[in-house]
Amino acid sequence: MEGTMKHQLQPASKLSWSPGLRNLIQDEELESNIDDDDGSEEVALNLDSDSELQEAFKKGLLKPGLNIIGRETKRSFRNEAEGLKKCLGQLSNQLPWLERLDMVVVPAKAGEEMKDKEAKHAAKREIKLSGKGKSFNISNDPVHNDFKRELHFYQLAQSAVLEGIPKLKVMGVKTKRPDDYFAEMAKSDNHMQRVRHKLLDQKLAAERSEKAKHLRELRKFGKATQIAVQQQRQKEKRELMEKVKKFHKGQKDALDFLDEDKDHASKTKNRPPSSTHPPEKRQMNWRRQMKDKQYGFGGQKKRSKYNSKESVDAFPPSMPNTKGKGKGKGKGKSKGKGKGAGKSNQKQRPGKARRQKMHARKKR
C-alpha cells in the first residue's frame, strides 16, 4: 500500500533514467524485499545508504533530477472463504421470515414516470452544462449519475415493497397504521413543519422564476417594437430631407409635402399620451415641496443681492418686502436687513430718555 520513497537527490519533476538503471534498481528492491540469493543477479550497486547513492551519482549512473518512487510492496489480502462460511453458519439464526423481514430483490423496472423523470433531469443538466464544457457528455456528468444511482436505490426499495407487503398481508400482519392511531414519529412535528415550509418555498420560488422569465420575454418583445418605431422615424426624416433637397435643386415646385408632413407629425404628436406617459398622477412629495417653499427652487441664486435698476428706483422702499422671490437663505437675516427698509412704516423706537421713563413707570 505504501510506496517506498527513494531519496530525492535533487528536486526534479521528470524521471529521466536509462532502462538499464531501472532494472538495476528494481532488482535491488527485489533483493531488499525478499531476501533471496540469486547468483545471476550480480548487482554492482547496492543502493541502500546515502553514501552509496552519492557514489553512484559520482560515477554517472545516477543523473541529477532522478526521483524514483519505488514499486509498491505487494500486500496479500486475506480472503478465507471457508472461515467466512463457518462464521455465517454460526451467526445465522433459523428464525421465520416474519422475524427478520429481509429480502433479496431485483430493482423494479422503471415505470413511465421514472423514465420521464430521468429524461427531464438529463435535459436539465444538458442545458445547464452545454455552455460551459467543450466536450459535454451526459453520461460523464456526476450529478446526473448520482440522480440515476438514487433512482436505482429507489427502485430496489420499490420492488421490496411490492414483494413484501402482499406477503405480510397474507400472513395477516398489519402494515398500515389506522388514521386514528397516534404515536410518536421518527421526526418531530416541528421538524415536519419546517420541511413543509421548505417545500412551499421551493414551489413559490419556482413560480416566481417562471413569472420573471415570462416578463423578460415580454420585455424583449417590447424592445423590438421600440427599435421598429425608431427606424420608422429615421426613415421619415430621411425622406423629408430628400424632398427638401429636391426643392432646393428646383426639381419640385410646391412645398406641399411640408404641410403633409406637419399633418403627419401633428398626428403623431397629438396622440393620447396614455400609453407612454400616464397623466401626472404622481404623489406629491410634501417634504420636498415645503423645502422648496422655504429655500427656493430653481433659478439663479448667486447674484440675487446685486442692485438692479428696479431696486435702486425703489429706494427708499415703500414696501418692506422687496426681496426677490426665490432668493435663497434665511428669513431671519432678511428680517435684520429689512430693518432699515421698513423704517417709515414701523413705529419708531422711542428715544433713550423716554424709554427709561417708561421703564421706570412700569416698575412702579
Binding site: R78, L91, D102, A157
Partner: protein, 293 residues
C-alpha cells in the same frame, strides 16, 4: 429499569418450572377466570448497543442518534474513551445485556469508522462510513413511526460472495427490528435499502407512502465501505480484507502529493523555458546596416 424486571420474570418462570416439577401435575381445581399461561411472542431477542468513541463530530453524533431513534431494539451507552481497548466493548455489551453492537469510532475529527459485531461469538466487521446525510436534512421529507419495523431490501450482489453473505446476515440482525419487541410499533411503514454498488454498501431509508410502491426518503443516508472482517468479536483472526479499500489518510496524502507535484512542474517548466530561450532572436548580418542611412 428493564433488566431487573426481566430478571424477576425469569426467576418467576424458573420457580414455576420447579413447582411444576415438584407437583408433576396440573392443579386439581382451576378457576375459569384464571389467565392462561402467557406465551411470549417476542422470540427474536436482538439488542444492539449503539455508541461511539470520544472525538466524533456533531454530524456523526446526529447520525448515530438517528440510528438509535430508528432502531427500537437499540440501547445507548456513554462515549467510550479511545484509550480503552476494543475488547472492552464486549464487556460493556455484556453488562448492557446486548448481543450486537455498533461502535462508531471517530478519528481525526473527520473520519468515522463503524464496528459491527456479534458480541461474544463473533464475527465482527469494520466499515468506513462515508457520505453521511442525517435525518434532519430538510430535503429528506419522509416520516415514519418511531419504532415501527422496517423491511430490509438487499440487492442481488449480496449473494455473490461469502463476505457479502456474512455482511447481509449481520445487517439483517442489526437493522431488523424483532417482531413484538416491547418498544416497537406493530406496523411496517418503512424500508431500509442496502445496495452494493462500487464495492460499497449504500444504505437508504424510505417511507412506504402508498402500498403500490410510492416512497419518500426519510434518511439517514450513508455509505459503508467495508474494510475487514474478524473472526471473533472485535478480536481474532482476519477472515477477509477489502483489497480496494484506501484509507482516508492515504487518499488525503495522495492528493497533497499531487498538488505539490503541480507546483514543482510549474517551476521546472519555467526553468526549462529559460534554458531553451535563444540568446539571439534572429541572426542579422552587421554589414547590412551599411547601406541604410
Amino acid at each position: 429499569m428493564a433488566p431487573p424486571r426481566k430478571r424477576k420474570r425469569v426467576s418467576a418462570d424458573e420457580e414455576s418450572d420447579s413447582d411444576d416439577e415438584r407437583e408433576n401435575a396440573l392443579p386439581t381445581v382451576r378457576s375459569s377466570d384464571e389467565p392462561p399461561p402467557k406465551k411470549t411472542k417476542w422470540i427474536n431477542r436482538q439488542r444492539v448497543l449503539v455508541f461511539a468513541s470520544r472525538g466524533i463530530t456533531f454530524l456523526q453524533r446526529h447520525f448515530m442518534e438517528d440510528l438509535r431513534r430508528l432502531l427500537p431494539h437499540s440501547k445507548p451507552e456513554a462515549k467510550k474513551e479511545k484509550k480503552e481497548s476494543l475488547i472492552a466493548i464486549n464487556e460493556i455489551c455484556e453488562m448492557k445485556n446486548c448481543n450486537k453492537c455498533m461502535y462508531f469510532e471517530g478519528k481525526k475529527k473527520q473520519d468515522l469508522y463503524l464496528w459491527m459485531s456479534n458480541v461474544s461469538q463473533g464475527p465482527s466487521m469494520k466499515f468506513l462510513v462515508e457520505n453521511i446525510n442525517t435525518m434532519k436534512e430538510l430535503k429528506l421529507t419522509g416520516n415514519c413511526l418511531k419504532g415501527s419495523r422496517a423491511l430490509l431490501a438487499f440487492n442481488e450482489e449480496f449473494n455473490s460472495a461469502p463476505q457479502y453473505c456474512l455482511m447481509k446476515e449481520m445487517l439483517t440482525q442489526v437493522f431488523g427490528t424483532p417482531h413484538h419487541h416491547p418498544k416497537s410499533q406493530p406496523f411496517i411503514d418503512h424500508v431500509f435499502t442496502f445496495c452494493i454498488v462500487d464495492k460499497r454498501i449504500w444504505v437508504r431509508n424510505y417511507q412506504i407512502c402508498e402500498e403500490d410502491g410510492s416512497l419518500i426518503e426519510i434518511g439517514p443516508r450513508f455509505v459503508l465501505n467495508p474494510i475487514k472482517i474478524l473472526e471473533g468479536s472485535l478480536w481474532g483472526q482476519t477472515l477477509w480484507e477489502n483489497p480496494d479499500y484506501v484509507s482516508p489518510n492515504i487518499r488525503r496524502r495522495m492528493l497533497k502529493i499531487a498538488k505539490s507535484g503541480r507546483y514543482m512542474d510549474k517551476l521546472m517548466q519555467k526553468k526549462s523555458l529559460e534554458k531553451r530561450r535563444p540568446a539571439v532572436s534572429y541572426p542579422v548580418d552587421k554589414s547590412m546596416d551599411v547601406f541604410s542611412s
